[in-house]
Each structure stands twice: as C-alpha cells, then as structure tokens.
C-alpha cells in the first residue's frame, strides 16, 4: 500500500481546472439552439394579480414565448411546490406556486417568464409584460405580524402565524422560582443571505428520442430537485436527469427547490428547445432564500456560584412569505441554546410568523448562530453580574467529558434524542484560551487604553448538530481502463468532496489519487441521493466511500487470488495493481481484473466469481453528530467612526477525525468570515412596506480581505463513535459562534462607556449611535 492519504494535507484535485478557467458552471454549459429566460417578478410585497398582458412583450423581435401560471403543465399549474419538511407543529404549511396565481406575497415572487433568443432581449421583454396589480397591505416586521389587527401577509391566513412549538425539559418554572438570581435579556439576530458568488442558474433540455429531460441547476440537492420536478411534471423519475455541475458556493440557499427549477424545465419541454436562465444579483437579493431574523426574550436562572439552574423564554422567527424548508431554523435554534452547558431545566416557546419578505431557509449555521448568540450573551451577563471572568463562568457550567454521552433532554432536528457522543468542551475552551493569550489580555487592553485605544476580547462556545441523515450513497467501480469510478449523490459547492472521497477510496482499494474518477451531483450517477446541507457529507458520503471501498477491495483481492492461484491473504493492492506476495510477485492491473470480472459472453463463471468490481454503499448514521468549539476574538473599536478591526481570531474546533487538514482549515476560516459578515456587515434592509432596499453588493456589504484576519486554528480531534471514519462535519462551525464572540468583544472594548449590545450585526452606525446615547462623546470631551 502506498502513502496513506486519509488525514494528509492533500492538495485538492478540483483546483487545476478551476484555476485555468476550465470549470463548468451551469451558465458555462453550452446548449445548441438554446433560448434564454427572464422572470417577471412582483414589484410589490403583497398584491392581487388582476390581469397579465403579455402582448407588448410578445411583439418584440426575438421573443419566443411568455408563460404565466396558466401556461404551465399540470400539476405545476395549480399545485403549490411540494412541502419538503413536515412538522406537526406547523399550523399553516405554505409553499409557493411555481408562477404566482392570483396573489403575490413578496417582492421578487415570480409571476411570469419570458423566453427569447438571448438574455438581453428576454430582459427587455420582461419589462414589457404588463401586470395589473391590486396592491394589498404588507407586513414587514414579524413583531408586527403577530399583533392583532396586523395586515395579513397572505389574504387567506388569518393571524400570520405558521407554527407554535414549545421545546422543554425539566421543571423550569420551579427552577426559576427557587433561583437566587434571574437575569432577563432581549436579543435580535438579523437576516442576511448565503450570497454565494455564483447566483442561481438553471438550464434544461428535453431530448425527444429518449424522452429524457436533463436539467442543470446550481443546486446543493439534485436528487431532491429531480423528485420535486417529477412530482410537478408528472414524469417518471427516470425520465429526468438533474445535474449540479461545478457550483459556485452554496451556503444553504441552494438547498431548497425553487420555482425557477420547475419553470425552466417546463418551458423547455413545452417549446422543444433548450432554455437557460442565469439569475442576476439583484434577482438573487429578491428571490433567493435568506435567514436569521429571530427575536428572543429569554431569562437565565443561576445559583450563588453562577451555575445555571434553568433557561426559559420565547423565540419569534420571521419565516418570510413561505416556508420551503419548514420550521427547521427556529427548531434548530431552540434545541441548540443549551449548547455545551449543563442546563438542568429549559423551555423555549417558539412562534413562527409569516411576513411579506423573501422566504427563509437555512443559511450556513441554520438557527445555530442565533442560539449560540443567546446562550453566550446570557453567560456574559452572568459573568458581569457576578464580577467573574467570562471564561470562568463558562468553565463552571461546561459539560464535563466524563458526563458523555450527554443527553440534553430534547429531540433534535433529526427526530432523535439530542445526545452528545464525545467531545471535550473544557479542553476546547482551554486550548483556545491558551492560543489566544486570553489570560493576559487585560494587560494589552490596559496599555491600549492608556493610548486612547479601545481593545476588547470576546469568547463563545458552541455545540453544533451536524451530519444529518438519512443517508448518502457512494458507488465504487473499477473500470476496464484501470481507473476507479466513485459516484455519489453528495454534491460539491467548494467543500472539496472530490478530494476527500478520493483520499478515502484510494486508501481502501490501493490506487493512486489521480486514478480516481469522480461523478457527483448527477442523478444519473447513483439512484438515491440527498445532497449538501447540515455539514453532513463527510459523515454520510465519507462513510459510504469507506464501506464501498472496503467491499470492492475484497472483490479485487478475491478475483486476483483466484486468477493468480494464491490465497487471498497473499495478495497486496497498491498503485492500481493486485500483487501476489510470493514467487516472482505476479501481478494483475485493476484494468485487467475489471475485464476478468466481466467474464466472457456465454462462458460460466467459476465458483465464487462474481460480476463486476463494484459496490454501492448507503451509510446511514444512527443519529446526528455534534461538533463543538470555542472562538476567541480580540477587537479594536474606533469609538469615533464605529469601525471594528479584528486584531486576532482564535478557533479551537472539534469536528472529529480530520480527512484533510487543508480542507478543514479552509472550511473553518471561510465559516468565520461568514460569521464576521453576520456580526458586523450584512444587513438585508426592508422598508416598512417590505420593499427590499439592499439589492447590490454596494448596499449589502460582504466582508473583504481587509476585514477578515487569518485565524489561529487549533484542531481537537475527538473521533466520532457514530460512523466508521470518526468524522463529524466542518462546514458551519466557523460561522456559528462568531457573532456572539465578536459582539462580546466589542462590548468589552467599550466597557468604559457601559454600553450593551443585544443584536447583530453591529454596523458602525449602530455602534456610534449607542455610544452617543450613552453619553460617550461627552465623556471623551
């Protein structure tokens, strides 16, 4: 066996093509004879559609068709997009129509689609489609939405409440009644977007001879998309092939199935021509899902030592106009709050409000950044009230390693009890504290204050449910040319799955990394698939790759032993060959073995011989996995501009066993950058009529290279007992505690002014306004 790839800092196999401009993203797929689509979208947050006049658009040269809801095939014409995530707590399940019928409920909802010879003409024509709207009152803020007498976000939903759900365990009221100290807080986390650099894109082609509808989509979940499209078109699953080619970032919003993914294929079918749609960035702001608007009223009860007795409160979640991913984000937020701490009793009453804003679905973190913000800010509050160091309060409350496996007392989003298996939370915090030089920060802070500079430090712990089920499959097949095909329903939006899975398979079957051929994100590659979300692919696809690799290894060894006439125990596999250990080391290449495994037409196999060197494994984890970590951030705040500089960012992270440290480093660092955006920059602004006001990257700010420090990363590897690789998932942990840590650090920096922050993002404007209200500028003279 050659060099072990698993655990090595292997350079990514994905990179050369992407670096040479040879990536293949959806808009790069050239389809002969293709037409181009542009959607007509609602300019109103809430309106009745009275009439649509497509005639002026159709008169424009180059326009081939204008489709409204009535032109779509059944059941897409009249049925809503199927609901992906059921939950008994959902009172009103509302998904949108592929094209709106009668009523539009957010700015950007698709009303019609124009198909033309090119994108420019399609856009010209879309502006000519005359839609007569009867504008209805809209509701923009979820706090207003649940008030009695509020405008209805949908004319047929009475109270704008989609779901009410209570998460609880223990006797929380008794705990509070007996507690010597109770502290209450109100928190708000604001919504933003995934903002992948590649917007959404869909291309579709119907090949009449084979009656196959091929759809390319910039999606995280092609298998799921195919299923939805089959439901909406009435086609057999096998008559649809969905491909997610190179995808330019996902971060959650490319996981749900979108109206455009239904409409473009329907139009291609109807016109008998390939049709492409490439979303522009403004459209992305208007119609790609967003997340994070959550309001919390919470209280923590603690004993005389600052040990937690209970946490209780309410959560109000703004789901936007529809709920394509159910109530997952408030659900996850509610069960993530206890986190790494011993919380003996707990209750969170969640209300999910419908508003006239873009629908929400998970964005990197999915409810967890909010939950961690709540719990960590409560810990900061306890520290302040007791005059204790923030790390010390946490230390007193962390779950100890000997308490593992630790049952929190709630049911997680996977439907199974929330049980942490492994992880050493005190060690994680201690590692971060040491690396960040936390213990002598007060000296640095004091020196800076003497110079009129305001340094602060913040820390946050988190536990993150990852590796959600139900499964992901991998087929490993040795090809007659000696290459090893790995096919999977896992998808790649930049996470390096091709490299990671190749490492696993190469080790198992003894081939070179560059002999692995990968097919992913293609429903034709493997019959069942789930896709990318919830930091799940290393757990499921990784484990399936291991199991399939092991099975194929056994088949190769058996066939080589049979053919070479030696016992199986005498066969080694290396560099794509099976080699007998004895004699003059006779050998067979994988290519030769693959041919032998196909036999000769008409000739019976020998006893024990089996067709093909291939195996498909579908690993299913028994429950979710739980990562954990600690972030410590040191900031400098310019009290006059409100500008925040992140001086130092330290992460201790336990995502289980690491397949490729290069990739995990990148995932964590990138996740932190997203968290920095949520903490300081990203502000999806709507006016009181739910009109979005930030629809360019000049208005909605993403962190740039000067905003994001290179993090100091410490990996703690506690193997996960729930899968054969020991992995947990690393895609989101970087994002989750960042707003909590950063806001804590800003508050610490501004301690001389006694200001408090209970929300994110903290823009410069917000910081200056808070300082002004606190009289800071008078204090500074």
């Amino acid at each position: 066996m050659g060099v072990r790839q698993f655990g090595a800092r292997v350079k990514r196999l994905e990179d050369p093509a992407l670096l040479m401009g040879a990536g293949r993203f959806v808009d790069d797929v050239k389809l002969a004879d293709a037409l181009f689509a542009c959607f007509v979208r609602s300019p109103h947050a809430h309106a009745r559609i009275c009439a649509i006049d497509a005639a002026p658009a159709l008169a424009l040269p180059g326009v081939h068709a204008v489709f409204t809801a009535d032109d779509l095939p059944e059941p897409m014409r009249s049925e809503r997009i199927p609901n992906l995530m059921t939950n008994p707590a959902i009172k009103v399940m509302r998904t949108q129509h592929a094209l709106a019928r009668q009523e539009v409920c957010y700015v950007g909802e698709a009303v019609a689609v124009v198909v033309a010879a090119n994108r420019h003409v399609a856009e010209d024509a879309a502006a000519l489609v005359a839609v007569d709207y009867d504008v209805l009152p809209a509701v923009a803020d979820c706090r207003d939405a649940i008030k009695s007498g509020a405008p209805r976000a949908h004319s047929d939903i009475e109270d704008n409440i989609a779901a009410v759900v209570r998460m609880e365990y223990g006797d929380v009221d008794a705990a509070f009644a007996a507690a010597p100290h109770v502290f209450a807080e109100t928190f708000w986390l604001h919504r933003g977007g995934g903002m992948a650099m590649e917007t959404r894109a869909v291309a579709a082609r119907h090949d009449a001879p084979g009656d196959l509808l091929t759809v390319w989509s910039s999606t995280q979940t092609p298998h799921l998309g195919r299923r939805m499209l089959a439901d909406l078109t009435g086609r057999h699953l096998e008559q649809i092939r969905m491909i997610a080619p190179d995808v330019g970032g996902g971060f959650g919003p490319k996981a749900p199935f979108y109206a455009e993914e239904a409409v473009i294929p329907a139009v291609a079918l109807r016109l008998g021509r390939p049709v492409k749609w490439f979303e522009d960035r403004r459209e992305h702001f208007l119609s790609a899902t967003q997340e994070r608007d959550q309001h919390f009223d919470v209280a923590i009860a603690v004993d005389h030592d600052g040990k937690i007795l209970g946490v209780r409160g309410t959560l109000l979640h703004d789901t936007g106009a529809f709920m394509p991913w159910g109530i997952i984000m408030p659900y996850i937020a509610a069960v993530t709050i206890p986190g790494p701490y011993v919380v003996p009793a707990y209750r969170l009453a969640c209300t999910v409000a419908i508003t006239n804003k873009v629908p929400t679905t998970p964005v990197r973190g999915a409810g967890r950044p909010q939950a961690v913000f709540v719990m960590e800010r409560l810990m900061d509050r306890v520290a302040r009230e007791f005059g204790l160091d923030r790390a010390e309060v946490r230390r007193r409350n962390l779950i100890q390693p000997e308490q593992m496996p630790y049952a929190v007392g709630l049911i997680f989003r996977d439907g199974m009890p929330l049980v942490y298996h492994g992880g050493d939370y005190p060690r994680s915090q201690a590692a971060a504290i040491e690396r960040a030089r936390y213990d002598n920060f007060c000296q640095r802070q004091a020196r800076a204050r003497e110079l009129g500079r305001y340094l602060g430090i913040g820390l946050a712990n988190y536990v993150e449910g990852t590796g959600l089920g139900p499964f992901e499959g991998v087929t490993v097949r040795v090809l007659p040319n000696g290459k090893v095909l790995v096919a999977t329903g896992a998808t790649n939006q930049g996470q390096g799955q091709r490299t990671a899975l190749s490492q696993i398979v190469a080790d198992r079957i003894g081939c070179r990394l560059d002999d692995v051929v990968m097919t992913m994100g293609d429903t034709a590659a493997i019959s069942q698939g789930v896709g990318a979300f919830a930091s799940r692919q290393a757990v499921h696809a990784g484990s399936s790759a291991l199991l399939a690799g092991n099975a194929v290894r056994e088949k190769i060894v058996a066939l080589a032993a049979l053919t070479l006439g030696v016992p199986e125990s005498e066969i080694d596999l290396a560099d794509g060959e099976a080699i007998a250990r004895g004699g003059n080391r006779p050998r067979l290449s994988f290519g030769e073995l693959a041919r032998l495994a196909q036999g000769t037409a008409g000739v019976s196999f020998a006893a024990g011989q089996a067709p093909g060197l291939e195996h498909t494994a579908y690993f299913t984890a028994p429950q979710a996995s739980y990562c954990n970590g600690t972030h410590i951030v040191e900031v400098e705040v310019d009290v006059f501009t409100g500008g925040v500089t992140l001086v130092n960012y330290t992460v201790a992270h336990d995502s289980g066993t690491i397949i490729n440290p290069l990739i995990v480093d990148g995932q964590v660092q990138g996740g932190v950058a997203h968290g920095i955006g949520n903490a300081l920059f990203e502000w999806m602004k709507y006016d009181e009529n739910a009109q979005p006001l930030t629809t360019t990257f000049a208005d909605y700010l993403l962190p740039v290279a000067t905003d994001v420090p290179t993090c100091q990363l410490t990996h703690i590897e506690t193997p996960n007992p729930l899968n054969p690789l020991g992995v947990k998932g690393a895609g989101e942990g970087g994002t989750i505690p960042a707003p909590a840590a950063i806001v804590s650090a800003i508050e610490d920096a501004l301690k001389p002014f006694g200001v408090r922050f209970a929300e994110a993002p903290l823009t410069p404007e917000r910081i200056v306004a808070t300082l002004r209200a606190a009289g800071a500028y008078e204090q500074l003279g």
Partner: protein, 159 residues
C-alpha cells in the same frame, strides 16, 4: 440596437467580430468567444469575479462594453497557464488552498497578476488592500493572501 465591427487580441489570439453596442466585454468573452473562465458574480462592478486585463490593466469586464475593447489586448484567466501547466500564481493558489468553489478565482488571479507584476515584494497588508475589490464567500481570504505572498516569493526566485 446598433452593431459594430471590432478587432481585438485575447490571450494572444486575434479576433474580428461584429457586436451589438450593449454587449459587455464579459458577455462577449463568454458567449462570442466561448471563454467561460471569466465569471459574472454581480454584474454591477463590485464583486470582481469578472476581472480581466485590458492592455495590462485590470478592468471589470461586466462594466466595459465589448466595443470599448476594440484594438486592445485582453488577457483572461484562460491566458495564464502555458501548455496546460499552472503558472506560479495558479500553483500557489492550489498549494495554499486559495480557492474553494472557484467562482471568484479567475478575478482573484487577474487582480493578483497585475498586482504582483507591479509589486515584487508586497507585505500581507499590501496584498489584502489589493484584494479589496474582489469578493470571496468561501475562503475567508486566508488561503488567497497566503497564495499571493507565496507566489511573490516564487516570482522573485524566478527573477
């Protein structure tokens, strides 16, 4: 819509085409020449994914019309590697994990191609400042900054 004949050089190759006045350089490169390495991330000049070199200077291909490239030399990401071999900057990106999804990467590479040509021994702060016109959502920039500094070292060694 008026049409115009243009002649330009892209990655060392001459092209003569007739284009509609409103076609951007980015759309022209992607659709007319099939050079799909130049990506469109925002189409309003902020994200920098479409950055190309025009007569050696970085330009947003989404904010420039194809007709404005008439008579000019354009270099795109496809023009960086010689004979299928990654150039030192591209190799440094792979070695330092300077890319994840790869969508912003062409713009990053073009910005840094100009920057490293003009700055042989940049500091980390210089590199970060140079990159502020290019957004990346995946990497958190650490790998890109490391790659740029590594490439600068390699280029100095090459002389």
């Amino acid at each position: 819509m008026s049409h115009h004949a243009i002649a330009l050089n892209v990655n060392g190759k001459s092209y003569e085409r007739t284009v509609e006045a409103r076609i951007t350089l980015a759309d022209f490169l992607r659709d007319a020449l099939g050079l799909t390495g130049t990506h469109l991330g925002c189409e309003h000049g902020v994200c920098g994914a479409c950055t190309v070199l025009v007569d050696g200077h970085t330009a947003r291909a989404c904010l420039m019309f194809a007709v404005q490239a008439n008579g000019r030399e354009v270099t795109t990401v496809e023009g960086l590697a010689a004979d299928g071999m990654l150039n030192p900057l591209q190799q440094a990106f792979q070695d330092n994990h300077g890319l994840q999804c790869g969508f912003c990467t062409p713009g990053m590479l073009m910005t840094l191609t100009e920057f490293l040509r003009d700055h042989r021994d940049p500091s980390e702060a210089d590199v970060r400042a140079a990159l502020t016109g290019n957004l990346c959502r995946c990497t958190g920039y650490a790998g890109i900054v490391a790659a740029a500094l590594d490439a600068a070292r390699r280029l100095r060694q090459e002389g």
